[in-house]
Symmetry: C2
Subunit: 462 residues, 2 copies
């Protein structure tokens, strides 16, 4: 059904974009992302400059039945952008301008290729705040954040990418360009295509402009590190903290094995304790410095009651940066240490102890080690399953059965199989756990409406 890219296509693309922006060699970097060991090198990479060029490229590929894979910064954790069929990889990196930061309306208009942290820094300089900060914030693009509905440590207080998107400019596969909504916080006009695009993983259209709402930058933050001897105590503490009436701006859990690997691999000091199995990072923020310490005082007895071994305060910017660096680097450093599979489990937060217990029990039964860490305040736990000494057979045959059991637990607890990484390639085989055939049919129908020739991101789950 799809056509193979050929010379004629390359000529036509060069005509639209100029020779320099149609790449046909040294394309290996575009064949993988941050997901496991996947590798699917593309046939052609195009680097358009704007929505109009993207419109022409899509219309061309649509008319010729050529697959198109939109790619941001390539930091995805589910393989969502990988070109599994021969086609065109469309890079958004030249759409990298912050077009407007509107201080009157607390809004910004940006292009999808802007790096998350660059945007955060730009608005913070003006006293505003864009909260979503995935671990890859220094390298991931805002367009990728939209594609996967990315979260990050601040979601417990501030929500995810989704909560800041007001309006999107989208190029459809037929080349038409629409704005999905309006630049307003309230909008009850028509079906909500804006939120339908967020998390749609490049399957429905190509986002070319994003209107974000922003909030005022909190003036102060304080970071605390709390070691626990027992996994279950650490997990239970999450809910006790939130029920105390204090909502931290981050509430992260990290298994000590992951902390150890991250700290060593990044050569970052970290106050490891032999008797700790889990560490909690707890950040408070707000405009009233005294109130943050009052809140911390209020939390102390809660933490003690829950079995905290200690409560350490980051009393310098260096210490804050060190602890966050260790947290943010767990994913990549653990993955460097072994062949792995990463699952992005999510449950209602009070079910976290039960989920964690189930993960370990299932691991024991199937014989795999796991390192757990993540955004515990949202019930979002990343489970890195390590191959270590497992046989290839066990890794390929048995471990997926264990993963299926973990996801079934998530579903039973009211959760689902991806909190912020998306379905991509990794979660695709488990979708039947959470979606009935009737549900899948609706999603396929929506896909068909946007992309009747299925040229966008084909070979994935929709």
């Amino acid at each position: 059904m799809f056509q193979l890219p050929d010379n004629e296509l390359i000529i036509a693309l060069r005509h639209i974009l100029g020779d320099a922006h149609v790449l046909t060699s040294d394309l290996e970097p575009y064949g993988s992302d941050y997901t496991e060991d996947f590798y699917f090198p593309p046939a052609i990479v195009v680097v358009p400059a704007d929505a109009l060029q993207i419109s022409e490229v899509l219309a061309l590929c649509n008319s010729r039945n050529i697959p198109v894979y939109t790619r941001g910064a390539g930091t995805g954790l589910s393989g969502g952008a990988l070109p599994v069929l021969p086609g065109v990889v469309l890079l958004t990196k030249r759409l990298n301008r912050i077009l407007q930061i509107d201080l009157d309306n607390f809004q910004a208009i940006v292009e999808p290729g802007v790096i998350n942290e660059d945007f955060r820094n730009a608005v913070e300089e003006l006293g505003l705040f864009y909260p979503p900060d995935p671990a890859s914030k220094g390298s991931c693009s805002l367009g990728g954040n939209i594609a996967h509905g990315s979260g990050g440590p601040k979601a417990v207080k501030y929500g995810t990418t989704r909560d800041y998107v007001l309006n999107l400019e989208v190029v459809l596969p037929d080349g038409n360009i629409i704005w999905t909504g309006a630049n307003t916080v309230k909008n009850s006009t028509g079906l909500n295509l804006t939120q339908l695009m967020v998390g749609s993983e490049g399957l429905l259209g190509v986002v070319t402009k994003i209107v974000f709402r922003l909030i005022a930058k909190p003036k102060f933050d304080q970071l605390f590190l709390i070691p626990f001897a027992e996994a279950e105590d650490a997990a239970k503490t999450v809910n006790e903290v939130l029920l105390s009436g204090v909502t931290p701006s981050s509430l992260e859990l990290m298994e000590s094995s992951g902390v150890d690997i991250s700290s060593k691999a990044t050569q970052t000091p970290f106050p490891m304790r032999k008797d700790a199995t889990f560490y909690m990072l707890l950040e408070l923020d707000g405009d009233d410095a005294a109130k943050l310490f009052e809140d911390a005082e209020r939390l102390l007895p809660v933490l003690e009651k829950c079995g905290a071994l200690d409560v350490l305060h980051a009393d310098s910017a260096d210490l804050k940066e060190q602890w966050w660096k260790v947290r943010r680097s767990i994913g990549e450093t653990v993955k460097s240490a072994s062949v792995y599979k990463e699952e992005d489990t999510v449950v209602p937060r009070a079910a976290l102890p039960e989920l964690l217990k189930a993960v370990k029990e299932i691991g024991t039964r199937y014989g795999f080690d796991s390192v757990c860490y993540g955004h515990a305040g949202d019930g979002n736990l990343h489970v890195n399953i390590l191959k270590n000494n497992l046989s290839d057979e066990a890794w390929q045959q048995d471990v997926p059965k264990g993963i299926r059991e973990i996801f079934e637990v998530c579903k039973r607890l009211g959760g689902t199989i991806s909190g912020e990484h998306g379905v991509g390639l990794v979660q695709a085989e488990y979708l039947d756990i959470v979606f009935s055939e009737s549900h899948m049919k609706l999603m396929r129908g929506i896909k068909n409406t946007f992309d009747p020739k299925k040229i966008l991101n084909p070979g994935k789950w929709l």
Copy 2:
């Protein structure tokens, strides 16, 4: 294409629901809602008890090509639930249970027929808070709030209905029942059907259970009333307040003519001033009583600079209730005073002065009076256009042209034609202002996916 309801259908419906829950006489009350003077009495009204019965009713009507109009409490302001074609009106009022309030996860599971205020009160008794409170909160249903993505005065700080919906149980026209998401704040699994359902106006399915997230109840609130001599000053003040760093929990504007009508019609005392053309209601809330007064102190010079004639404080619960009652009653009392059309304009908040000026200028040009009021902190301004002494011809021919001009201004300013009332019947003829044919095609395709025989809410805009 549609079949007319007949005796055979009534017998089949009675078989599913029992005789008492299939009504065929005295159906006038179901022919109108709170929108203008629309009246479309239905042929049959059914009152199912649960999702399974609704599934059977929809499957039956779907197989027989019978229109189905889902109706909550009938307080809609766009005519969205009105049965414009002969068919079945499906009442949700027996699905009226609060099934669970989960104090661990700050979530609740409710049925769609629960009245907004009943739900708010139930969670507040447990120390939790469900912010969205439309003016009709005492009578509107949560299912109706979902259908229109309802807002209300608290949206400026807390967002709208949409921001509290985690997961929905939905019966599809073919009788299949799905859950759209998971009971988690984070979810990147599949296309976001939850947010697609919110605001879909009964066109895609029938919501039978809602999972809401809740927040902790703020302990204190303070209400201030600020009269202005000049409309433009009042409108400008909205943004100055928000830029001062204080985010009120409500920031409402009311034109004095509306306040006067409402106060008199409800026999509620209100400190009217002859020199005031607009009044602002400004509510602050939070957990720190002292901080609220500090914030108020901080706002005083801002308000004075902007031309406030006075700043009155509601120093008793009675006074608070009186001022809110006058605010909430403007809509219905103004409408009782004249034939009217109500528009639900919304723009980025800083554009409010320009919108207000345009509304008055357009009114002058077309010869109509208007009463403006609404949720100014969100840029959401309700414009009640009064017939008063206009001829029927001018009312029917000219006024819609004026409305079109107002909506075109909204669009030009980055806004849209409905902030919280929905499209329904009222906004349908103006959709071309905000949606291209390409955009409409996508929405039609989604409709077709969910409801291929178009039995849900036919005769409306999709």
